[in-house]
């Protein structure tokens, strides 16, 4: 599903990530951890085609990202839901339209979309906030709205970058529950976080694999996680 083969990424003359190889099988739940600035976000961006590896190969759904045009990458991205730490919404549109944005841009917002949207907002607990604008949402509500947007196209893979970075423990547990539910539905989950509590809580509920970026390389995390 997502494969990295001897991938390196350089920026501004320095190598940020080096010699990374990874295969993310369908239905798996991966955590990616490491200190701030270790390159977790860069790694995730390589995984959804927002950045191009400077060496090695990134394959998404058996397609090498290097040879793809921007429109092809856009089509691949529709199969990958992304949740960012800062969420990234269109602040002038209400929650409903932001959550439905992947459907809108892919021209799929026709029959049955409204019902699905309502169901999805209920699932993330945002029914009462459907008409609110993103700046009016709390941190937890923004994260849940971002998760709803990430899954509305029913993608095969969900990538989350520090999804609990700006929210309290209770809200992060709620978000984790949603991610676990998605994984049980067969979705592949990859979460970049330095929140060890979140990883431990997840390990108690589903089978997870924990990776760590250390010294620009990808490693399996130790048994302490």
């Amino acid at each position: 599903m997502i494969e990295l083969e001897n991938v390196a990424y350089s920026y501004g003359g320095g190598e940020l990530l080096t010699d990374m190889s990874l295969s993310v099988p369908p239905g798996s739940f991966h955590f990616l951890t490491g200190p701030s600035g270790s390159g977790k976000t860069t790694f995730l961006k390589l995984c959804y085609g927002a950045l191009q590896a400077t060496a090695g190969h990134v394959r998404l759904f058996d397609r090498d990202v290097r040879g793809l045009g921007r429109d092809d990458v856009a089509l691949l991205r529709r199969k990958i839901g992304v949740v960012h730490q800062d969420c990234q919404f269109l602040d002038h549109l209400p929650v409903t339209e932001n959550v439905a944005l992947p459907l809108t841009v892919s021209g799929q917002d026709a029959d049955g979309a409204d019902a699905n949207l309502k169901e999805l907002l209920a699932w993330v607990g945002l029914t009462s906030r459907a008409d609110a604008l993103p700046p009016e949402l709390s941190g937890g509500e923004r994260q849940r709205a971002a998760l709803a947007r990430a899954v509305i196209m029913s993608p095969d893979v969900i990538l989350a970058d520090e999804p609990t970075g700006n929210i309290d423990w209770e809200m992060s547990q709620r978000l984790l529950t949603l991610l676990v539910e998605l994984n049980r539905m067969g979705k592949t989950i990859l979460v970049a976080t330095h929140d060890l509590g979140l990883i431990r809580a997840a390990k108690a509920q589903v089978q997870t694999r924990v990776l760590r970026i250390s010294n620009r390389r990808l490693q399996m995390a130790g048994a302490d996680l």
Binding site: A50, R70, D71, A74, L75, R77, R78, V82, H84, Q88, F89, L90, D91, H92, L93, E97, L101, P102, T104, V105, S106, D109, R149, M153
Partner: protein, 300 residues
């Protein structure tokens, strides 16, 4: 490369797609105003060009087949010399008709300068003879030689001396009008490109979000392109309308009052005027498309 399919997709109205770009006040006003001002100027440039064309055609057609003979002789010899000159003219190949102007006709010619009650009989005015030529015309040099022998007080004016520079000037004025329209279109395109660049740069975050959720470049560009084209179309429609009203406010003149009062749109000229708003929209469409392509490439 020009892609007809993606161009057609961009023109297709899509309310939801148009909503993804937040309204931007500054660039909206800039585009509206630019299109308004440029279309207003385009109406005048067009009117100037069309009026110059009409004048050139009229001077060319009306005066090409006519000449004037002037008899400047002492009062006692005018009638004799006129008769002699008419005889010569009527036997000259290439001349259809030659006719001495009556006192009333000569008064009418002077009326714009001296008024209609001029006592023309008391003035030592030359007798004018109006000559109508065939399409092929006559041999002016040969005629002058014959006139010198038989009516020495006659001076032939075949209009070429003053007509050619006037026709040339009118022709250049017409060209200048079209060149102005071309410059106006280019300036509109440049201004819309600048405004679109500013709007795209200000919405880099919006573009990032759209890309994150899988929007293709065509989709993102379309939202901007449609918006700017519509603004330019609206501004140009108002500018054109205002230009037309301003043209109607120019005092109407008679045939004798000349070029300035003839600055109007007539007949098929209206087709060009009606084309100004859609052409502005089209210029804005391609300018924004060009700007969007460049900015999206830079942001990729």
């Amino acid at each position: 490369m020009f892609d007809l399919r993606s161009t057609a997709r961009m023109l297709k109205f899509d309310e939801k797609a148009d909503r993804v770009v937040p309204p931007t006040g500054f660039t909206a006003r800039l585009t509206l105003f630019s299109a308004f001002a440029m279309s207003f100027l385009a109406v005048f440039a067009l009117a100037l060009s069309l009026a110059a064309g009409r004048v050139a055609d009229r001077w060319g057609e009306e005066l090409a087949q006519s000449s004037t003979l002037r008899i400047s002789a002492p009062a006692g010899e005018v009638a004799t010399q006129t008769e002699a000159a008419l005889r010569v003219l009527r036997t000259t190949p290439g001349i259809i008709d030659a006719r001495a102007l009556s006192t009333e006709e000569q008064r009418a010619l002077l009326a714009p300068w001296f008024g209609s009650d001029l006592p023309i009989e008391d003035l030592p005015l030359p007798q004018l003879i109006d000559i109508i030529e065939t399409d092929e015309g006559y041999d002016a040099a040969g005629l002058r030689l014959r006139l010198a022998a038989e009516a020495p007080a006659a001076v032939l004016d075949d209009h070429a001396r003053w007509r050619r520079p006037l026709i040339d000037a009118a022709g250049r004025l017409r060209l200048l009008g079209w060149a102005s329209i071309l410059l106006i279109a280019t300036a509109t395109g440049a201004m819309v490109t600048l405004a679109a660049n500013a709007a795209l740069a200000a919405n880099a975050q919006v573009i990032a979000v759209l890309r994150l959720v899988g929007a293709k470049d065509t989709y993102i560009a379309s939202a901007f392109v449609r918006r700017f084209a519509l603004r330019a179309l609206t501004g140009a429609a108002f500018g054109t309308l205002t230009g037309i009203v301003a043209l109607f406010l120019i005092p109407a003149g008679s045939d004798t009052t000349g070029f300035l009062t003839d600055l109007s749109i007539q007949g098929w000229g209206w087709v060009w005027v009606i084309l100004i708003p859609p052409l502005s929209g089209l210029v804005a469409f391609f300018a924004t498309r060009f700007a969007a392509g460049r900015v999206l490439e830079d942001l990729a």
